[in-house]
Every structure is written in structure tokens, then in C-alpha cells.
């Protein structure tokens, strides 16, 4: 009987299950094409290169917000460490970018000398160039793979993945949940950023890695073109990431992780290995964050430990909350909306408000507004911006899979599952 019913409830195709998937991918493709056409590098040049970069970076932020939504909105783990994984991804790719570019410069400068340079001389030259600012002239062991793009690309995936795996295993195994886990992840983030702030961490201390916007060997290609390449890559990563997230949250797997969010103990008693599910989600989203970081920082051009500070991860949570957690497009909308708005306000473009006795300069007051609106969203609009879409879909009668929408607030979450 059970086999029969399992056969009867066949999985519908993803697209049917998630009509928003097609809409999202379509919007993303449209956006990418539009920006390409309007860009300086490939199109008519309406959008400046720096704005193309801002848009590309925003796509990366959307990707990490997507990861945050999966781990928090769907699995109920409020991780305050995903921006750390994001930063690790950036550092991993940044090491190769910096090494390879410096290597070209050093080889060029040594080529004019009387004797051909030895491998050691080249390596010393690169090390002096890179680590001169922190008073070192040797490669720390952490840079052992920096000469190889392949290995550093692997590191983009493996380092955040392994870190999340080990940390998550330790934390979930000892049943650290809820706010404890949040604080613990925050502590991890703080520890990492403090470690990177040291000059002898091997990653140039608070100078961070810089000059990442210059792709080694592609010095002739103008930034206007490179920026569009990165926009494409970011859009592709976001599209694939969205697809992967949709695949994860749909079907049985998705039901289990949502159940873990709603009542972890009950899921455990039903015989599911809760820790394994959580660990998978935590690690997967960490990798997603790492990839997003690896695409973000070459566009930003510089990475330093301040980017990893706990506050960054909190802002990430803010984006997801404002966009609407528990729905994937909500995270994307939230990240795009808040980060672009933030750029606008802090960039000094927003007009100051003169109250007569005091002039509100948005550069200074934007953070206050953000903080307070965050409180307001938590209190009054827990669904965030994404909740607005419910106004449209609510007109249709919901498919409740036969379940009654009980009086308990917990059961209301089934609605989230629909999206």
C-alpha cells in the first residue's frame, strides 16, 4: 500500500512545483541582457562601468542571501557566519589573482637583468612585492597553492565547505541550537576576522588583498569588458544557485528541513537524522557563499578582514529578513533592494532632509534608518517584501495538500512551502 501511494504522489516537475523558478530565471536573463546592451563594454554605454560592477556585486550578494535564506529561512539555523564563508571565498580567489599578477610584474622586471632569474629569485621577488606592507618577504605556508588557479578555485569550494562541515558537525553534534548557535557562529566569525587582522596571519593583515580587479594576463582587456564578463558569471552563478536551492527545498528533502525548522525534536523522533540534514544544508550554503565571495571580490577589487567582521553577517540576515525569508526570491529581492538602497544612501546621492533645527544627512543616518526599519519589519511584516507577492497569489485558493490550516501558528508555515 505504501509503495502504491508513493507511486501515486509522483513528484511533479520542478517548474510546475515552483512556477516562480521560471519567472525568476527569466527576469535574471532579461536583466543580464539588458545590462549587457546598456553597458560600455558591449553595448551603447548608458550604464557606467562602475555601475555595471555594482550590479554584478549585487548579484553576488543575492547569491549569498539565497544561501542565507536556505539555511535560516528554510532550516531555521540563524547563522551569523555566512559572510565569513563569503570572505574566505574572496580570499581564496584573491590569493591567486594577486600572486599571478605580481608574478607577471616580477618576471617582467627581472627579465632585463644580466642573468636569467632562478625560480627562487622570482618567488622572493613576488613575496617581497606582496608582503612588503606587513614587513615579511617570504611566502607563508597558506600561500602554497596560490600559483595554481585550479587549486585556488578548489579552495573556494573546499575551504568554506570544510570549515562549515567541521564547525557544523561540532555544533550540531552537541545539540547547540537556536540563539546559542547564532552566538557561536558569530564567535567563529569574530575569531576569523581577528585572526586575519594580524599581520602574521599570512594574508597581509588589515591591508587585505588588493588590485583584484586586474585579471592576470588580460591587462589589455578594458575594465568595461571585464565588468560585463563578471556580471555574466555572477548572473550564471545566481541562476544555477537558485535552481539548486529550488531543487533542495522542493520534494521530501525540503519538507524535512522545513520540519526541522518548525520542530526539530519531533523530526528526530520520527527517525530522521536531523544532524545530517542540518550539516548538509549548512555546508552547502557555506560553499554557495564561498562561490559568491569568489565572484564578488574580483569586482570589488579589494578584500580586507573588516569585510568578514560579524556585522557583515548580521547585515546579511537583515537583507533576508527584509526581503522575506522562507521564500527564495524574497532573499534575492531583499539583498538587491537593501544593498542598492544602501549604496544610494551612503554614496551621498540621497538628498538631505532639512528639519529646520537639524539637517538629516543620510550618510550618517542611513544606518539608523536601516536598523529601525529592520525592527519594524521583524515586528510588523515578518514576511518582508516577499509578502507583497502573497497579495497576488492569495486571490487563488491555496492548495493545502488536504491539510487543514490549523489554529496553531506553526501550521501556517505550510503556506511557505507552497512558494
Amino acid at each position: 500500500m505504501s509503495e502504491l501511494s508513493a507511486g501515486a504522489i509522483r513528484r511533479k516537475p520542478l517548474v510546475v512545483q515552483y512556477p516562480s523558478l521560471l519567472i525568476f530565471l527569466g527576469c535574471l536573463a532579461l536583466f543580464t541582457v539588458a545590462v549587457t546592451v546598456l553597458s560600455e563594454g558591449f553595448g551603447i554605454g548608458v550604464i557606467s562601468t562602475s555601475f555595471v560592477k555594482t550590479l554584478g556585486k549585487t548579484l553576488c550578494l543575492c547569491l549569498v542571501a539565497l544561501a542565507m535564506d536556505l539555511v535560516w529561512g528554510y532550516c531555521g539555523i540563524l547563522s551569523l557566519g555566512h559572510m565569513a564563508f563569503f570572505g574566505i571565498g574572496g580570499y581564496a580567489i584573491g590569493m591567486w589573482l594577486m600572486y599571478a599578477r605580481t608574478e607577471l610584474i616580477v618576471i617582467e622586471s627581472l627579465a632585463n637583468q644580466a642573468l636569467p632569474p632562478t625560480a627562487q629569485e622570482i618567488s622572493d621577488g613576488i613575496a617581497t612585492q606582496i608582503f612588503g606592507v606587513v614587513g615579511a618577504s617570504e611566502f607563508p605556508p597558506i600561500w602554497a597553492f596560490s600559483h595554481s588557479l585550479t587549486l585556488q578555485l578548489l579552495a573556494v569550494i573546499l575551504v568554506p565547505g570544510l570549515l562549515a562541515l567541521v564547525f557544523g558537525w561540532l555544533a550540531f553534534r552537541s545539540r547547540v541550537t537556536g540563539v546559542y548557535l547564532s552566538i557561536l557562529t558569530q564567535a567563529m566569525t569574530l575569531a576569523l576576522s581577528l585572526y586575519l587582522f594580524q599581520n602574521d596571519s599570512g594574508l597581509r593583515g588589515n591591508n587585505g588583498l588588493s588590485g583584484l580587479q586586474n585579471l592576470p594576463g588580460l591587462g589589455d582587456v578594458p575594465q568595461s569588458v571585464v565588468s560585463v564578463w563578471f556580471l555574466w558569471a555572477s548572473a550564471l552563478a545566481l541562476g544555477l544557485g537558485y535552481l539548486a536551492c529550488v531543487a533542495i527545498v522542493s520534494g521530501k528533502f525540503g519538507s524535512v528541513i522545513r520540519a526541522i525548522r518548525d520542530d526539530e525534536a519531533r523530526v528526530r523522533f520520527l527517525g530522521y537524522p536531523v544532524e545530517a540534514y542540518k550539516l548538509f544544508i549548512f555546508t552547502f550554503t557555506a560553499i554557495l557563499a564561498g562561490i559568491a565571495g569568489a565572484l564578488y571580490y574580483p569586482q570589488a577589487g579589494i578584500i580586507n578582514p573588516a569585510e568578514i567582521a560579524p556585522i557583515a553577517s548580521i547585515y546579511l540576515a537583515v537583507w533576508v529578513a527584509i526581503g522575506g525569508r522562507g521564500r527564495l526570491y524574497g532573499a534575492v529581492i531583499g539583498a538587491a533592494f537593501v544593498s542598492l538602497l544602501s549604496t544610494w544612501f551612503t554614496g551621498g546621492q540621497a538628498p538631505d532632509v532639512n528639519l529646520g533645527f537639524y539637517t538629516i544627512e543620510w550618510v550618517n543616518w542611513w544606518t539608523v534608518l536601516l536598523g529601525l526599519s529592520f525592527v519594524a519589519v521583524t515586528l510588523f511584516a515578518p514576511k518582508g517584501i516577499g509578502g507583497l507577492f502573497d497579495l497576488i497569489t492569495a486571490k487563488r485558493s491555496p492548495d493545502r495538500h488536504g491539510a487543514d490550516l490549523g489554529p496553531d501558528a506553526g501550521a501556517l508555515r505550510e503556506k511557505e512551502a507552497e512558494t
Binding site: L115, T118, F167, S174, Y180, Q186, A187, L190, P310, T378
Partner: protein, 652 residues
């Protein structure tokens, strides 16, 4: 015309003024006796003149010595009499009698000669002067002289010090003199026995000056010899390639002693090869192929064979040469007996220093722990008792500190301002806490993650508001004068009064908390609401009110903690954020819902941080990193903290 008149007048007045000077004053007579060697001003011969001045009991002698040292003593070429001078104009000087200090007329500069003692002579004069200063009637002058000696001791000071020691009446100065005499004996004592006795006098003394005096005595030099060395002054034998003596250093010693062929640095080798490039080849080897060290070694060896460059040792030769020698350390700072005595006394001192450092570290740890306790106690109430996580707690600490700062702007008296600031800070943060509870937290009691995020929103808003009002620079919160300085046990163990005050404050808060929780109606109701809000409500307790008051109480304590922390650190808009993670760690490590757990947690976190800082003192960032990692690991083993609640309360 005017110039001529002046000159004329000067010529006329010259003999008169010379006569006016008292050539028979005792000080002038004394100087005249040694006039020749003084004028000669040579370090080798000047001794008797300085001694004569120093040993004379003439009251003017110190002044003359001082002026002489300062190059202000002149003599008249014609008569050889000594005078001080004052400048009148470029060519004329006014003479001043050295015996009376009275002006005695003017003279052309070319008729005078200035004494310009060189630095050696000035040093000798200084030593002679010290004798006078040590006998000076003014206490401060004597102390200053002692200080000068201890900063920059010379051999002559020792005898000077010994001369005056018996006559000193002030006990404090007398003790200082005795100590200084011993220290100088270590350095300048005439016989080895005398020096050893002085060294042993300082057995177990923690003074930095003692270590400074002893350390040079035990300095060593690494030497090499073909046979194993004999003799007392050999400290130990080193083997090349060990941690204390690298192969390179060992070989360099041999090269310096001209016992081995030199080796050549990579850069020199490169330069030598470049110098010998001809037609794109070096010694018949293509330049393009010289892109590895091995290839360059070969090319250099080929050059050496041709005789173009000096041959250098290869690695194998280095090993062979090193094998033929014994390397050892030899005492160079003092004769062996003295050095050995110094080493043994230093050893004892170092053990004692280590013990005292441990004590000092413990005091530091206690003071850091009390700061963490202060920062965490409010959190222990809101998080531990109520289960509400308040990320804006750090900002309440900051608000308290800024309240103190504002109060100090209006009340200049520091003691009074702190007395006003403490209750005011409590009131301000109590109000803020109650407002926040009413407006935000009340609605989120069953959604802890949302509470965390909402309070985070408040936290960043408050931080930015503080930044907008007070600016980004650090504001001072000045402690009252009576809290300045520190309680000094010895040269190593000391603790500032402000840290003691914070410690006392932490104890007070512990007592206050225990009193409120266990002995008051409010505490009873808080505990009741914590355990079972519905039951408490049916007993006539208003849980809303209790929650509000508890939250206000926790926030108020954060405000007072802010005043305390502000006294010890600077007040900035980010100070709260600096403490919040440690405060949460303290609560989590200690165990939620138990004040003793918080105390233990604070002690653990504080001790740990100080200990890691001690192991790696240059790097407080690393200390924090490792501490956090430790705590993450700790939570693996005791997920509910040191003191875990058991039973149903644990699930609440």
C-alpha cells in the same frame, strides 16, 4: 667714530678692570695654582686640577666646576685670571668675578680665552660635581644626584658614594645610597671577591636595576677551537646545526676567525657571474642556462678553476670543516668567578620573577574577569533569567558610559560626577530597557531568533546615533584623583586602583543581584515568572510588569557597568560591540540562568585571555582568536555551560 670711541674706552679701562678683580680670593688662587694644566685642557693631565677643586672645601668650587663643565669659564690671556663672562656685543664681553659674582668691567673678546673641556674632561668634572651634589643640603638635589648616578654610572661615582654614605642622615636617601653602592660595586668593584659579595647581596632581589646590572656580566660569546676547551669561563659546548647555533652562524664564526674559507652569498655570486659575462657566456656556460642555483654554482666553480674568482667552500667542505671544530660559549662580561656568581643569582631571581609574574598575571586576570562579569551580569539577567537575547546590551553599556561623560561635562568635580553618573546611568539605561521591552521585545517573547535580530537592529541604530551625536573620536571619562596610581607590591606585582575599584564594584553587583533575587518580593516574582509564567499569573503576579522590570533591571546594570568600563577604557560608540561577544561567551560558558555560572564563566574567560596574552604578548588579536576557539570547543563538551540547570528549568 663711535666704534673708535668704544675701543679707546676699552683700551683705557682694561688695566683698571683687571686690577679691580680680586686675584687673592681663595678659589681664584686655587685655580691659579693649576692654571697651566687647566689652560692646557688635556684629559691626561687635568686630573690633579679637578681633584684639587673637588677636594677643596671652598663654597665656590661646585659653581666653578659647573660653569667649567658648561664651557662658561674663561681666562684673561694677559693675567691668566679666571672669569665668567656675559656677552655685550659681538666683540666685547662683560667679565664677572668668580669669587664674588660681581661684574668687573668689560673686555674685548680677543683678549679672553674660553675653556672648552672635551667630553672626557666634562665627565671627570661631572664626577667631581656629584660629590658636592651628594652633600648638598637640599634633599631633592641629593636624590637627583643619586638618580643621575644610577642612570649613567661611572667608576669614580663609587668612591664618591662611599665617601658620603656615612654622613647621610635621611634614612630613605641613605637606603638608596647603600643600594646604589652595592650596584656600583657589582660593576666597578676592585676585587673579584668584593664584586661577588655585592652580587650575592642581591640574592632574590626583584629590582629591574639589579637585573640590568647583572645581565651584562653573564653575556657570552660563541667561540670555536679545535680541541674541547678547558677553563671556568666556558659556559657550555654547542653543536652546530642545533637550535642555539645554526650551521651558517657556526661557519661564519670560523670564517671570521680565519679558520675557514669564506662562503659566498647568492647575491655576491650573482654579481661575480655578471662581472664575468663575455659574449653571452660565463666560463664557457651559456648565460641563458643560468636560471637555477645549481647551474650558477657550477659556473662559479668553473670561474674559480680559471682563477678569475676566489674559490669558496661548498656544502660538503662546510660540513667537513665544522666537524673539525668544537663550538662553545665563553663568558665575556666579567671574570669567570664573577660571571658564575651573577649567573647563579640571576637564576634565583628569575625563578622568583616567574613566580611574581604569575601572581601579577592572576591579578590581571581577576581584574579582566571582573570587567567581563560587569558586562555580562545584566546579560545574565535578561538572557539567563528571562531567556531574552538582547544584542543591544553592549549599546546599553555604551549609553551608560556616555551618560558618565555627559555628567562630567556639567560637573567638573570627578568624584562627585561619578557619584551622580552611576545612578543616572542606571536610570537612563533602565528607561531605555523598559522602553525597548514595551515596544519590541514584548511582542517577540516566543520568537528568540527574531528577538536577536530586532535587538540587533536597535543595536546598530543606537551605535550610529551615538556616533552622530558624540562623533567617532574616543571621549574620556576621567576617574577621580584618588583612583589614580596603583597598588604596588614590588617591581613586578602591581594593580591599578581603578581595577581594584572595578573588582569591588563587581562584588557589589554580585551581592546586589543575590539580594534582589533571593531576598526581595521582586526577586521572588521574577523567579516565579521565569519558572512558569501562567502559574505565576494565576497567583496574582503580573508577568508583563515583572518582565518589564527585570529587563529594565538588567539594562540598568549594563549602564552602571558602562560607567565602570568607561573609567578604565575610552568611551566610543563601538565600545559596546567590543564587549558583547565576550559577555555572551561569559554567559554561555558559565551556564544560562545562574549567577554563579556567570561568575565562573567570567573568571574562566578572563583568566584564559590573560594567560594566552602572556604566552603571546605581542598579539592581543591572536589571544582573542584562540580564546574564542577554545570557547567553541568548550561548548562542545559542556553545551549548557559550567553550571547547567537540570530538570524542567533546563528546557525552558
Amino acid at each position: 667714530m663711535a666704534r673708535f670711541l668704544v675701543l679707546l674706552w676699552m683700551v683705557l679701562s682694561l688695566p683698571a678692570s683687571a686690577v679691580a678683580q680680586d686675584a687673592n680670593a681663595p678659589i681664584q688662587k686655587l685655580l691659579q695654582e693649576h692654571g697651566e694644566i687647566i689652560a692646557k685642557s688635556s684629559r691626561k693631565t687635568i686630573g690633579p686640577a679637578i681633584d684639587a677643586l673637588g677636594d677643596s672645601s671652598l663654597p665656590k668650587a661646585p659653581e666653578v666646576l659647573q660653569k667649567w663643565q658648561d664651557k662658561e669659564l674663561w681666562f684673561i690671556k694677559e693675567s691668566g685670571l679666571f672669569v665668567y663672562t656675559e656677552k655685550v656685543d659681538g666683540k666685547t664681553e662683560r667679565m664677572i668675578d668668580i669669587a664674588t659674582g660681581e661684574p668687573i668691567g668689560e673686555i674685548a673678546k680677543r683678549d679672553l680665552k674660553q675653556l672648552k673641556p672635551n667630553s672626557g674632561i666634562r665627565g671627570m668634572i661631572g664626577a667631581a660635581l656629584v660629590k658636592f651634589q651628594l652633600r648638598d643640603p637640599s634633599r631633592t638635589t641629593r636624590l637627583r644626584a643619586l638618580n643621575a648616578i644610577s642612570r649613567d654610572a661611572e667608576e669614580t661615582h663609587l668612591s664618591a658614594l662611599r665617601d658620603v654614605m656615612g654622613d647621610e642622615s635621611d634614612p630613605e636617601i641613605s637606603a638608596q645610597m647603600a643600594r646604589l653602592e652595592r650596584l656600583l660595586t657589582i660593576e666597578f668593584g676592585e676585587t673579584e671577591d668584593e664584586r661577588i659579595a655585592a652580587i650575592q647581596h642581591f640574592e632574590g632581589d626583584l629590582g629591574v636595576d639589579v637585573r640590568a646590572a647583572l645581565n651584562p656580566l653573564v653575556s657570552v660569546r660563541v667561540e670555536a677551537a679545535e680541541a674541547a676547551p678547558e677553563g671556568e669561563d666556558v659556559v657550555r659546548v654547542l653543536s652546530p646545526g642545533s637550535e642555539d647555533l645554526s650551521r651558517e652562524d657556526a661557519y661564519d664564526i670560523l670564517v671570521r676567525a680565519e679558520l675557514a674559507k669564506p662562503r659566498i652569498s647568492r647575491d655576491d655570486k650573482r654579481a661575480a657571474l655578471i662581472a664575468n659575462i663575455s659574449d653571452g657566456e660565463v666560463a664557457g656556460i651559456q648565460v641563458a642556462s643560468l636560471n637555477s642555483e645549481d647551474a650558477r654554482d657550477l659556473a662559479y666553480a668553473a670561474l674559480a678553476e680559471q682563477g678569475t674568482v676566489d674559490p669558496v667552500a661548498t656544502e660538503a667542505e662546510v660540513d667537513e670543516t665544522l666537524g673539525g671544530f668544537v663550538f662553545f660559549e665563553r663568558y665575556t662580561g666579567a671574570p669567570p668567578a664573577v660571571a658564575l656568581a651573577a649567573a647563579s643569582v640571576l637564576n634565583g631571581i628569575e625563578t622568583k620573577v616567574a613566580l611574581n609574574q604569575t601572581a601579577d598575571l592572576a591579578l590581571d586576570a581577576v581584574s579582566l574577569a571582573s570587567i567581563y562579569f560587569l558586562a555580562a551580569i545584566g546579560l545574565a539577567i535578561t538572557f539567563g533569567v528571562m531567556g531574552v537575547i538582547n544584542m543591544a546590551h553592549g549599546e546599553f553599556i555604551m549609553m551608560g558610559a556616555y551618560t558618565g561623560f555627559v555628567v562630567q561635562q556639567f560637573v567638573p568635580d570627578h568624584t562627585l560626577s561619578i557619584i551622580i553618573a552611576i545612578p543616572l546611568a542606571f536610570a537612563v539605561t533602565f528607561g531605555a530597557g523598559v522602553t525597548m521591552e514595551r515596544l519590541v521585545i514584548r511582542h517577540l517573547y516566543h520568537r528568540p531568533l527574531e528577538t536577536l535580530l530586532a535587538t540587533f537592529g536597535i543595536s546598530i541604530a543606537l551605535q550610529q546615533i551615538a556616533k552622530n551625536i558624540f562623533g567617532t573620536q574616543a571621549r574620556p571619562l576621567t576617574a577621580p584623583g584618588w583612583l589614580d596610581g596603583s597598588l604596588v607590591f614590588n617591581d613586578i606585582v602591581s594593580i591599578s586602583y581603578i581595577r581594584i575599584a572595578i573588582f569591588v564594584l563587581a562584588l557589589l553587583f554580585l551581592a546586589l543581584f543575590l539580594f534582589v533575587m533571593n531576598r526581595t518580593r521582586l526577586g521572588l516574582e521574577v523567579r516565579a515568572v521565569t519558572q512558569n509564567p501562567r502559574m505565576a499569573a494565576s497567583m496574582g503576579i503580573n508577568p508583563d510588569k515583572i518582565n518589564m522590570l527585570t529587563f529594565g533591571f538588567g539594562s540598568g546594570i549594563a549602564g552602571i557597568a558602562g560607567v565602570a568600563i568607561g573609567l578604565y577604557a575610552k568611551v566610543t560608540s563601538e565600545m559596546g560591540a567590543d564587549y558583547i561577544v565576550q559577555a555572551f561567551m561569559t554567559v554561555v560558558v558559565g551556564g544560562v540562568g545562574n549567577i554563579w555560572g556567570t561568575l565562573l564563566g567570567a573568571s574562566l574567560v578572563g583568566t584564559l585571555q590573560k594567560y594566552i596574552e602572556f604566552l603571546n604578548p605581542s598579539n592581543t588579536l591572536a589571544a582573542q582568536t584562540y580564546m574564542i576557539l577554545f570557547i567553541i570547543l568548550f561548548i562542545q563538551f559542556r553545551p549548557r555551560g559550567i553550571i547547567a540547570l537540570k530538570g524542567r528549568a533546563a528546557e525552558a
